[in-house]
């Protein structure tokens, strides 16, 4: 069995003249929660839609749950749960009716689990979806995504618009489910703090390209701020990310004899994200 749930190599997708994905490389190990960071319009949603088979990639290769796919098959789709940023349920259907509608499409549908999730998430089962608040609708979408016990969970900025309590409940349920079932989750967001609390590894995408990828601690060890004389140039092995933010292997940071007055600062994930996600960041900054 392949150890990776997702592997994207050089995946490309254009919308007219716009390159939404410009050779995205991404790998997510089984059972991990992967934080997919990027600004609005960076390519997060398109990447997730390509993985879900909603959008076809123009090029590159996609491996999903150990299968190399040209087009995401129905069988594969049954093993993937998806929560999008906005929910478009049939307004006349209640949570119970939605469950009844969706259940026959998934052989692995667990009705009991669905009811439990509705209860845990505090979603009224018999109220029409049009009458539910935005947060409740998102929780309903999570319940629908988790009830078939998917092997992979794709979350596309699901907590946008949720209040902090609802967001915390949502994230806790995701973490609990992943831990309990060993589900892989790809959690896309532009809220760094949220991703930091949920994910074990992160990737930052900007303008359709992956800028950097790795576990959070490793990233913080690799990417640091260097305060030095303007004329100072770090030795080979260091790559400038943006302004005074540099990237190098942790050993190199430790082994380099820094001149007097030079200050090396560790950065938060948010600062690392800001350094990579700015549009003026040089292309050479990717590790």
């Amino acid at each position: 069995m392949d150890s990776e749930a997702i592997r994207l190599s050089d995946v490309r997708r254009r919308y007219g003249r716009v390159r939404a994905l410009d050779g995205v490389n991404l790998s997510v190990a089984r059972g991990e929660v992967y934080g997919f960071l990027g600004r609005n319009g960076a390519g997060k949603t398109t990447t997730l839609r390509v993985l879900m088979g909603i959008v076809r990639a123009d090029g590159g290769s996609i491996e999903l749950l150990g299968e190399r796919v040209e087009r995401v098959s129905i069988a594969l789709k049954r093993r993937v749960g998806y929560v999008s940023q906005e929910q478009y349920f049939y307004p006349w259907m209640s949570a119970t009716q939605l469950g009844r509608f969706v259940a026959p499409l998934y052989p692995s549908w667990d009705e009991q689990e669905y009811r439990r999730l509705l209860a845990v998430l505090d979603v009224p089962p018999d109220r029409r979806s049009v009458e539910l608040s935005g947060g409740t609708r998102t929780k309903l979408a999570l319940a629908l995504a988790l009830a078939p016990r998917p092997a992979l969970l794709l979350l596309d900025e699901p907590t946008t618009g949720l209040d902090p309590v609802a967001r915390a409940e949502f994230n806790e349920l995701v973490i609990a489910t992943v831990r309990e079932r060993g589900t892989t989750a790809l959690f896309s967001s532009h809220l760094v703090g949220e991703v930091e609390g949920v994910a074990t590894r992160v990737g930052i995408i900007q303008a359709g390209k992956m800028r950097v990828e790795g576990d959070i601690a490793g990233l913080r060890a690799r990417v640091r701020r260097l305060r030095a004389e303007p004329t100072f140039e770090p030795p080979p092995g260091f790559a400038r990310v943006r302004a005074d933010v540099w990237q190098a292997e942790p050993e190199l940071w430790a082994a380099t004899p820094w001149p007097e007055g030079t200050l090396v600062e560790a950065l938060s994930l948010e600062h690392i994200f800001l350094a990579f996600a700015r549009t003026d960041a040089p292309v050479t900054s990717a590790a």
């Binding site: 789709k77 478009y88 349920f89 049939y90 307004p91 026959p104 499409l105």
Partner: protein, 603 residues
């Protein structure tokens, strides 16, 4: 197919579908009731398929496709393990099934209704079912495709009938002859379908193309096309559509075909109908039945051959009523208000070539909706009529040449293009002869093939609406044929002078005339118009008062004069104009020759 989706659709739209089917059934009932008086058999079913069948298809497409996209619930379906193609085909087949149920129900209901009073064989009834079902399938496929066009679906639904109407109006193709609609013809309504394989293939192909287009819209660009089309219209789009609709409606109104009056009913005299023309000449004391019949045959042959040569669609009715007491050169055409036809009142001894030319003239004028009379093609119309009437008579042709040669005024391009004015100056005898000369010259210059190509373009039935503005002018047509007005005038004048040389001896016998006309106002005699003519002991004056609202010169009064000077028997109002023409019977030319024509202002 996805039964899960079918269940969802039926649950979501079931009540609307049931209501639509109920209304459809009630409408069918009403139509069946009415059809007993209007046509019987499957008339109601055919009418129902054309109206409610299409409406139900549009409604279903709106509910099954358009609402899914406009409500963005399609995005919810896309994250489910279904697939776009499967979603589309499930909905398409569900819609088809519902349309089939409606069709079957309507057909069965109609059959039961008809069988209460008639015996119908199953074969005919099943053939009707097949035709109506295929029509409804095509209608559904089109409606479904339109449904996939999102915010433009209404335009597509409108475009279908609009296109059919335009084709019907512009090309004259009846709607019943259009693809798919051919399946609902009168033969089908009468339970005797005679639908050919081509009609079936056309409808089937149309349905396939529409279904394919719908599928393409659903899946192409990862469904992005359909999703984009489903968005709400922008203000700019709304303004554009409203403007385009108004323009389209205005255009349609302009293109609207005018109803034609029925053909004139011939009831008297022996009716000759050897070809397309139906001709009758009323026998009188001076024109016995045999001669009347012979004349009718000649006129009929003239008309048929000319219709054939011009390639026009015409079935003229001609009625000639000889009347004693009329001057032999006076020929009057009756104005028919409620019918189409050529009804002429002539003297029993009216000259045959002129009578025949007048019939042909009237025929072509009618075919061209009188446009040939008002434009610069008038000279060619007069020439064609005169020429065709004497086409087999060399002596008559030479007589026309001699008349043309007698005219003192030379032919110029301007005079040819302003033929109404030239005719007024020359009088009908010399004008017709001059037109004949122009036409004969044209024949010589172009040759038969190019001549008739030109004439077919000139004298075809024109559009009776704004499209006439886009037709090429006579000058353009002449240019295409390698001629111009000035060249034609020069050639005609040269031929006329040659004819004058040929007939110099005969023409020298003609006396010379001098004429004058003047208007005056005196206190004791009021306003008068005085005429004078020297060179002939008797002559006649034709006159007409022209008031500002007088549409044209028509129906001039005749005043016979036997003295050199005279005053016209009229009291024209002050400030009016009087058209006065003085003519003498020219024994040499055997026709009345106009010596003078003038429009005089009354003081």
């Amino acid at each position: 197919m996805s039964y899960v989706l079918i269940r969802k659709e039926l649950r979501e739209h079931g009540w609307v579908i049931a209501l639509a089917l109920l209304l459809g059934a009630l409408a069918l009932l009403g139509m069946l009731e009415q059809s007993e008086q209007t046509g019987g058999r499957f008339v109601a079913l055919v009418g129902h398929a054309r109206s409610f069948g299409l409406l139900i298809a549009a409604l279903l497409a709106n509910r099954l496709f358009a609402r899914e996209y406009s409500g963005k619930t399609q995005l919810f379906l896309e994250i489910l393990p279904l697939g776009r193609a499967r979603v589309f085909w499930t909905k398409w087949l569900l819609g088809l099934g519902l349309v089939a149920i409606a069709t079957l129900g309507a057909w069965y209901g109609s059959l039961r209704w008809i069988r209460r009073s008639e015996v119908l064989d199953w074969r005919g009834a099943l053939a009707v079912l097949g035709c109506v079902a295929l029509f409804n399938l095509t209608g559904w496929a089109y409606a479904a495709m339109a449904g996939m066009l999102g915010r433009y679906r209404y335009l597509a639904w409108l475009a279908g009938p609009l296109l059919a109407y335009t084709v019907h109006d512009a090309a004259g193709i009846p709607i019943e002859e259009l693809p798919a609609f051919r399946l609902l013809g009168e033969d089908v309504a009468m339970a005797r379908p005679q639908v050919g394989a081509l009609a079936l293939v056309q409808a089937g192909s149309l349905a396939l193309v529409c279904a394919g287009a719908g599928m393409l819209l659903a899946t192409a660009g990862s469904g992005a096309i359909a999703s984009t089309l489903a968005r709400r219209m922008t203000t700019r789009e709304r303004v554009f559509i409203v403007s385009a609709s108004i323009t389209g409606l205005a255009l349609l109104t302009a293109l609207e075909s005018k109803p034609e009056p029925p053909p004139f009913e011939l009831t008297e005299g022996e009716i000759v109908a050897d070809g397309l023309a139906r001709v009758a000449v009323m026998p009188t004391g001076e024109l016995d039945a045999a001669r009347a019949s012979e004349l009718a045959r000649v006129i009929s042959r003239d008309a048929d051959t000319l219709i054939d040569r011009l390639g026009v669609s015409a079935q003229p009715r001609v009625f000639v009523l000889p009347q004693q007491g009329l001057d032999r050169t006076v020929m009057q055409r009756a104005v028919l208000s409620g019918a189409q036809g050529i009804v002429l009142r002539v003297a029993p001894d009216a000259p045959r070539p002129q009578l025949r030319a007048l019939v042909l003239h009237s025929l072509v004028a009618d075919v061209t909706l009188q446009r040939a009379l008002k434009e610069d093609r008038h000279v060619l119309l007069d020439g064609l009529s005169a020429y065709w009437a004497v086409r087999d008579d060399p002596a008559a042709r030479e007589r026309l040449w001699s008349r043309a040669a007698a005219s003192a005024a030379p032919l110029s391009a301007e005079r040819l293009q302003r033929w109404a004015e030239t005719s007024e100056q020359l009088g009908s005898c010399l004008a017709d002869a001059s037109a004949f000369a122009v036409f004969a010259t044209l024949e010589g210059a172009l040759g038969q093939s190019a001549l008739w190509t030109l004439l077919r373009g000139l004298f075809s039935r024109p559009h009776d609406d704004v499209r006439v503005l886009f037709e090429p002018s006579v000058a353009q047509r002449l240019q295409r044929a390698g001629l111009s007005w000035s060249r034609l005038a020069a050639l005609s004048e040269r031929a006329r002078l040659a004819a004058r040389a040929r007939n110099a001896a005969v023409l020298a016998l003609r006396p010379s005339y001098r004429a004058s006309v003047s208007a005056s106002a005196t206190r004791d005699r009021g306003r008068t118009v005085a005429i004078a003519l020297a060179g002939s002991p008797q002559y006649f004056a034709l006159y007409q008062v022209l008031l500002p609202w007088t549409p044209g010169v028509d129906g001039m009064s005749r005043f016979d004069v036997r003295k050199a000077r005279a005053v016209l028997p009229l009291s024209p109002p002050r400030g009016s104009r009087v058209l006065v023409a003085l003519e003498v019977e020219d024994a040499t030319l055997d026709c009345p020759v106009r010596v003078l024509a003038r429009r005089v202002d009354v003081p």
